[in-house]
């Protein structure tokens, strides 16, 4: 199995305080990993470290460059003057590629179709509900055909149908070799999802595997 992510003894600090302390994990192509834990346990910090948004104080991180990241809903700027379709299309950008191709637009359209938000493409993001905006971010993440998908609390604000659609899409991506790493504090989000490995984080360390 091709490895998409390998972290070894990762330490991430805020000032002198380690929020992540000696975490090691790997994710292979087609694998799904759930990172769970209470608020403040270090799971979002770990995700940001994997995404390259926070530097590792020590340890090593090796991952595929073809990665997409879905941040927490709360981090979105709701007042930004942009249309949903414009946001989704940014998911096809890559270093060294300045212009969108027709293929990029097709990928963005099919991602929006898959998540049932195609008719929202021309809507300003400030007019969208929380659940709709969450699906815009998911569409952005999947339209770039990533090999590693990082999702930080993706189920917050999703109704039961959207939850089902999300996991159906993730399964499709996994079957094409994408590794999925999902952070959730609510264990009920991943009830009935037998494919995933569950890693419980507490105090910045791996507290157990379920």
């Amino acid at each position: 199995m091709t490895e998409r992510l390998r972290i070894k003894d990762a330490v991430i600090k805020y000032g002198d305080n380690p929020a992540v302390n000696g975490v090691s994990l790997t994710a292979g192509a087609g694998e799904m990993i759930f990172i769970t834990g209470a608020n403040g346990s270090g799971k979002s910090t770990l995700t940001k470290g994997i995404a390259g948004l926070l530097p590792l104080s020590s340890g090593t991180l090796v991952r595929t460059p073809r990665m997409s990241y879905v941040p927490q809903y709360e981090e979105a700027d709701r007042d930004f003057p942009a249309r949903a379709g414009e946001i989704v299309l940014t998911g096809t950008q890559r270093p060294g590629k300045l212009f969108h191709t027709r293929n990029d637009r097709n990928q963005a359209e099919s991602a929006m179709n898959a998540l049932g938000i195609y008719d929202l493409a021309d809507r300003e993001i400030r007019t969208l509900s929380g659940g709709q905006l969450r699906r815009v971010f998911l569409a952005r993440a999947i339209c770039g055909k990533p090999e590693l998908l990082l999702l930080d609390e993706p189920c917050a604000g999703l109704d039961a149908h959207s939850h089902e659609v999300l996991f159906s899409i993730l399964r499709g991506m996994m079957s094409e070799g994408c590794a999925v790493v999902m952070v959730t504090h609510d264990i009920s989000d991943i009830d009935g999802i037998p494919e995933g490995r569950v890693i419980r984080i507490s105090g910045g360390r791996i507290a157990g595997y379920e």
Partner: protein, 269 residues
């Protein structure tokens, strides 16, 4: 109307009209990014650093742009670095640097006895626009507009979500640097017309007005450019008619447009 026709008969007015319009549009386009990224104070900081540089060049009897351009560009690097590294204290650092630069400029011009030359830099003067300034404005506007078109998708992504862009492996610092250099150049070129005290308003106000009515990033950029152009033309004509510095009237025109747009948006909603 007769005043406007009379205005167009003067060569300096043509130069001011073309150079000022181009710089205003460039400033407003860059202003969109600065406003959305909450870097509005950068233009203000750079203009006051520009004032200190102009005071120094006047005291040393050196061509102003030789000192102002490199100083303001260097300052833009430092300000952007401080804003990125110390996000919470970035505005404070800019405020300290800009007040210190303004004070330094006043001291230099007072000690060297060149204080009287400085009023046109502080408040701007349409008479100060030379043929060389016009050429600089044309070249600068070509660079800014071409950069914006070429980097449009990237700038949109980084402006909306810098973290997401970084997670894709995009070098966001490089694009921020490009925006700061272009902003520094626009500030230096615009100081002659609107004055160092007011150039930051030319950068920020059109974007703030456009944000009220724009329904997407592209329309925000276009409306911001149009607002800036209209405000500049109005300001230039009025400054000639009532004989007061153009920079001040351009800013007041921008403020009037901002208020009208607020009222229009309020009535519509």
């Amino acid at each position: 109307m007769s005043e406007v026709i009379e205005l167009l008969s003067y060569p300096f007015a043509y130069r001011a009209l073309i150079a000022g319009s181009l710089i205003s549009v460039c400033a407003s386009v860059l202003g969109v990014i600065l406003v959305l990224k909450h870097y509005s104070l950068i233009g203000h900081g750079l203009s006051e650093i520009g004032f200190a540089s102009l005071s120094l060049s006047s005291a040393l009897s050196v061509q102003p742009m030789y000192i102002a351009a490199p100083s303001v560009i260097t300052a833009s690097f430092v300000i952007m670095y401080v804003s990125r590294k110390y996000r919470t204290s970035g505005d404070t650092a800019i405020a300290i640097a800009s007040s210190a630069a303004l004070a330094l400029g006043i001291v230099i011009s007072s000690v060297s006895g060149t204080a009287s030359n400085m009023s046109s830099y502080l408040f701007g003067s349409v008479l100060a626009v030379s043929e060389a300034d016009l050429v600089v404005a044309v070249i600068l506007s070509v660079i800014v507009i071409a950069s914006f078109i070429l980097l449009y998708n990237r700038l949109f992504l980084i402006t909306y979500s810098e973290d997401y862009a970084r997670s894709l492996g995009i070098n966001t610092a490089m694009y921020q640097l490009i925006v700061s250099i272009l902003t520094a150049l626009v500030v230096v070129a615009g100081m002659r017309i609107t004055g160092t005290l007011l150039i930051s308003g030319v950068i920020i106000l059109p974007a703030v007005s456009a944000k009220i009515v724009a329904r997407g990033f592209r329309s925000l950029v276009i409306i911001s450019g149009i607002v800036s152009f209209v405000a500049f033309i109005l300001g230039l004509i009025m400054s000639f008619v009532i004989n007061i510095p153009a920079g001040a009237v351009v800013i007041l025109s921008n403020v009037a447009i901002l208020i009208l747009m607020k009222i229009f948006a309020g009535a519509k909603s």
